[in-house]
């Protein structure tokens, strides 16, 4: 067994751990850091439930080795709400629009859409749909998720004014 010492910054907090080289980032978050918000739906990079932000960019935690995340900043669903516990604008929009049913794909949806809104506060519906093609949902039929993203974009634009 091949172990390596890594230091990762997850949701703003530093963690140092010894990990086996083959442990995926998803399993590291879930098993070593007890951050079970990142979900495993397929472990081959298609469903997107494991999506996190790695140095600000969306990435599949099931296709990343924990050792590769050494010195990296990771944002998971647990890190999206504000420090005082209030939900982010996007999370609130999901609640308002019924953008989740079973909630299993939701972590990936939120991180992916966080990246989108970080880059583009005026996405078209088409752009929103395209952004989440890498996130499968079996419950909602996507419509409420799209509406939540557009509502969040609107609210964030209004906040800027």
């Amino acid at each position: 067994m091949d172990f390596h010492r890594i230091k990762v910054y997850v949701n703003g907090k530093a963690y140092e751990r010894e990990v086996e080289s083959r442990r995926t980032l998803a399993d590291f978050l879930r098993m070593d850091l007890s951050l079970t918000g990142t979900h495993l739906g397929c472990e081959h990079g298609v469903c997107g439930a494991c999506t996190v932000l790695l140095n600000g960019s969306s990435a599949r935690a099931c296709l990343t080795l924990a050792v590769q995340a050494d010195q990296c900043e990771i944002t998971t669903i647990e890190g999206l709400a504000h420090a005082d516990g209030t939900l982010s604008v996007l999370q609130q929009a999901f609640q308002e629009c019924h953008g989740l049913q079973c909630g299993f794909c939701t972590p990936g949806m939120l991180t992916t859409l966080t990246e989108l809104l970080n880059e583009n506060l005026s996405p078209t519906e088409s752009q929103v749909r395209e952004a989440i093609t890498g996130n499968l949902c079996r419950c909602t039929g996507y419509q409420a998720i799209v509406e939540a993203a557009l509502l969040a974009a609107q609210k964030l634009r209004d906040q800027r004014v």
Binding site: M1, D2, H4, E20, S21, R22, T24, D27, E43, H44, G45, G48, T51, L54, S57, S58, A59, R60, C62, L63, T64, L65, V67, Q68, T112, E115, E130, A131, T133, G134
Partner: protein, 291 residues
């Protein structure tokens, strides 16, 4: 679905990486990991060693030298997609990346990873073929260059020795007047192409074809260039008869790959359909740029 055990190596420089590939048996290079990790998770591959090139930053670059765009093997696909340099000089590549997978995959996936994985359906070897790409590889003993036409040794296997690492590729920049198009058919957005086509065309002032390049993916192990059509179309009009010539060439392709999900007949038909659409788009773009 967890990988089998391996020893992990993280070279900080190219020379270190070259030493490792010279010494180790049964290794795999992890670049973006978007193709390798699924295979390891399924245990389709079980390397004893994994060499991570993500710290070898000298392989991550996009630069223009003369009439070529030089892309390093560890350059992220998303970086190439959003590169202003690429959009300006090789817009074909920007259009191609709009079909490549999904944002999360492109954020990590690398150009070199795709070229070395060599999936017949992949867009990146296809546009590299259209652009007469030249691939640069290195070993401890030095560098060598391999034109894309010789890059595929066999199905999903490049002409890369075990002690070699791909450094990058040089892609030809066409004149500012050129037209281009990348078309593909996939079942859903971002899926692997069943068939894809890359077209580049340069027209004379009289709208005749000075030069044309047509490359197809999803047809064979290596991207297929329609070389007969390309030479026959020089000085011909960029019109319906040119299209029909290309389709005739496709009709005559001897071996089109087939699998349980897509027949060779279907691929051939898709190739013809998409080539027609790509030629029309490329011609229109070229005509606009001339005028």
């Amino acid at each position: 679905m967890k990988p089998a055990p391996f020893i992990y190596h993280r070279p900080q420089q190219l020379s270190e990486a070259l030493d490792l590939v010279a010494q180790l048996d049964n290794y795999k290079i992890i670049a973006g990991g978007q193709s390798l990790m699924p295979m390891m998770n399924f245990r389709f591959v079980m390397p004893d060693h994994v060499i991570d090139l993500n710290q070898v930053t000298e392989l991550n670059h996009i630069s223009k030298e003369n009439q070529q765009l030089h892309i390093g093997s560890m350059t992220r696909q998303q970086a190439i997609y959003s590169s202003a340099l690429v959009q300006e000089h090789i817009p074909l590549v920007s259009q191609a990346y709009s079909f490549v997978s999904h944002r999360q995959i492109r954020n990590r996936g690398t150009f070199g990873g795709s070229l070395c994985h060599l999936d017949p359906s992949s867009e990146q070897p296809c546009f590299t073929a259209a652009l007469d790409g030249v691939i640069e590889v290195a070993s401890q003993s030095g560098k060598r260059e391999i034109p894309i036409a010789h890059w595929t040794a066999m199905y999903m296997t490049p002409d890369l020795a075990p002690n070699e690492i791909m450094l990058g590729a040089k892609l030809s920049i066409w004149p500012k007047t050129h037209g281009w198009s990348f078309m593909e058919y996939s079942r859903r957005h971002g899926d692997y192409a069943i068939v894809g086509v890359a077209v580049l065309v340069n027209l004379s002032v009289a709208s005749t074809i000075e030069r044309i390049s047509i490359a197809l993916c999803g047809i064979d192990a290596a991207p297929v260039r329609l070389l007969n059509t390309e030479s026959a179309l020089i000085n011909q009009a960029a019109d319906e008869s040119a299209i029909r010539m290309a389709l005739g060439d496709i009709e005559k392709l001897p071996n089109i790959m087939e699998d349980a999900l897509n027949t060779s007949d279907y691929r051939r038909h898709l190739a013809k359909t998409l080539t027609r659409r790509a030629l029309l788009e490329a011609f229109e773009r070229a005509k606009k740029r001339i005028s």
